[in-house]
Symmetry: C2
Subunit: 330 residues, 2 copies
């Protein structure tokens, strides 16, 4: 794509073209040569959207929650972007849930833009692409960007780490508190929702989550306790019946106010950009090495020696970093 065509596309996006936004997302997903120029161009417009991560086990009703929240956000006149990461079947390559009807009530509403991402392929590539797609939604002027992820793998945790507020949705069947801790959900949640709260075990799960949070607070050091602390709410909900959704939206707004008033929003975003830089360098290093593995004779030889077990990866890594092979793009 020519620089001129790209500039036009970016202009169209900033004046509200959904087609331009979708095309830019595809470019970013493909990780082509335009990505650098796109991200550089949109950088000054970033940081206006408030981003919300929504995660939890499969079947927790995340899509219904996103659906209800989008409706409530639209009622306040705000625009919404949604990024959904779908699981793929590992051997067919097709999206398992690709055929489900998503966000039906919003399909015709211009104020809600929905993008599904495939989880297929990608070693760190999906997390990177998702973060860049969130940026495009931010740059396009969306007030809220919601990111829905299934499960809690490293990619999902990475993506959640880039959002301002993280909502963890559980269902009574999701298992006990120990599972929640093991999955690392305790560390990332700003708001807990126990969905399908009419089912057996919902009350037990609510109690257990509250107990675990008390344990977490009581474990804080005196210096930590002196600072203003966000008290993580545990909400009961039935998203399919639109129960508890107004309370959830209010909790999101409370958290947003808390982040702004304490300066945490700024601190979090700074730490996040720094981490994004490190990931970006790692990602680019792998990309360049893979591209040059077949074109740079010295590198080809070194990789061959490592794969034969003749040179250990640690020594080879030091050699690569001392050489200039990473300095030019592949």
């Amino acid at each position: 794509m020519t620089t001129n065509a790209l500039t036009q596309l970016l202009e169209k996006m900033s004046t509200g073209s959904e087609t331009a936004l979708a095309r830019l997302m595809t470019l970013v997903e493909r990780d082509g040569r335009e990505v650098g120029a796109i991200l550089e161009a949109i950088a000054p417009q970033l940081g206006k959207a408030f981003t919300i991560g929504i995660t939890g086990p499969p079947g927790a009703g995340k899509s219904s929650v996103v659906d209800c929240l989008a409706a409530l956000m639209r009622k306040t006149g705000k625009t919404v972007g949604v990024v959904a990461i779908d699981p793929s079947s590992p051997f067919s390559g097709g999206a398992l849930l690709g055929d489900r009807i998503r966000m039906s009530q919003h399909y015709l509403d211009k104020g809600v833009f929905i993008r599904s991402m495939a989880t297929r392929g990608s070693h760190g590539g999906l997390a990177r692409a998702t973060k860049d797609v969130i940026k495009l939604l931010d740059a396009s002027g969306r007030d809220y960007v919601m990111v829905e992820t299934v499960g809690v793998g490293q990619t999902e945790l990475d993506v959640m780490g880039t959002t301002d507020t993280v909502i963890v949705i559980l269902v009574p069947e999701a298992g006990d508190g120990v599972q929640v801790m093991k999955a690392g959900l305790m560390e990332i949640a700003d708001i807990f929702v126990v969905n399908k709260a009419d089912r057996d075990g919902a009350q037990r799960m609510l109690t257990e989550l509250n107990l675990m949070l008390e344990l977490k607070y009581s474990g804080r050091s005196p210096s930590e306790s002196a600072q203003p602390q966000w008290k993580i709410p545990v909400l009961a909900a039935q998203a399919v019946n639109n129960i508890g959704m107004t309370e959830l939206f209010q909790a999101i707004e409370s958290h947003q106010r808390f982040l702004l008033e304490t300066g945490d929003l700024d601190r979090r975003r700074k730490a996040r950009r720094r981490e994004e830089l490190l990931s970006r360098v790692e990602y680019e290093v792998r990309r360049r090495l893979t591209a040059k593995a077949s074109t740079d004779p010295t590198l080809t030889q070194l990789i061959e020696a490592v794969s034969e077990g003749k040179v250990d990866p640690h020594t080879a890594s030091a050699q690569i970093l001392e050489s200039s092979v990473l300095r030019t793009g592949g």
Copy 2:
């Protein structure tokens, strides 16, 4: 540690000292300056051990299976190394299962060496440390090295990817086949075990796994089908009662023979060493950048500009790779 002391330690390890082995593992876990020298020194001795990955959801009985397999391996006169990755509580930092009694029957047997790894901290660090600990066990002359991981996060999948045979252990309560696919277990399993097979739903799970495998085989292209294929066995077991364990050990030996006869062992190990090199470079790049973030003024400024949102990570990443900042250790 002096080079001399390190050489002595390595010599002691190769003559069977468990104390030396344990000390080297600690050095490798801490990722100090000695790691390079250690890995370089042991490189010529690697590849003799046959490595077995054992994974599955919490409570599937993985430790009991490892326990039984170790006993069977010892009966054939072979030596055994076990690496167990324990989940940590995200807020106490303590190992949740640290107090369970592990491998009780082998505690006094010199032929079985057991190492528990903490999952705490580490962004990619645990996977790296685990792989290096496996290498030490290999270099120390163990015939079999078993690696037990809880759950199926990216770290666990990474570690499983470095073993020769992967055993996935499920229990009837573990959920349906879709969950197995979503967790990526279908892709990595060489052998399936349905443990606690006396429980309700065991037969259904066995049938379902077999059906999923048939589906997988039938989806193969003609060229794939022409090659000799490993037929993934689905075994029923009750590890605590030592039922099905001999069959499991036989399946492992069959898989080992299959890998040797088809040349797959060599191909897998080559691909693995190559991937290890890429991970190692990524890891070292992050380590150097983090170390230099506070000592290299140009880098400090650039990182600050990125965290303020003034320079986008993509542009900054290109600048870092063009500079010489990565060329020297931090």
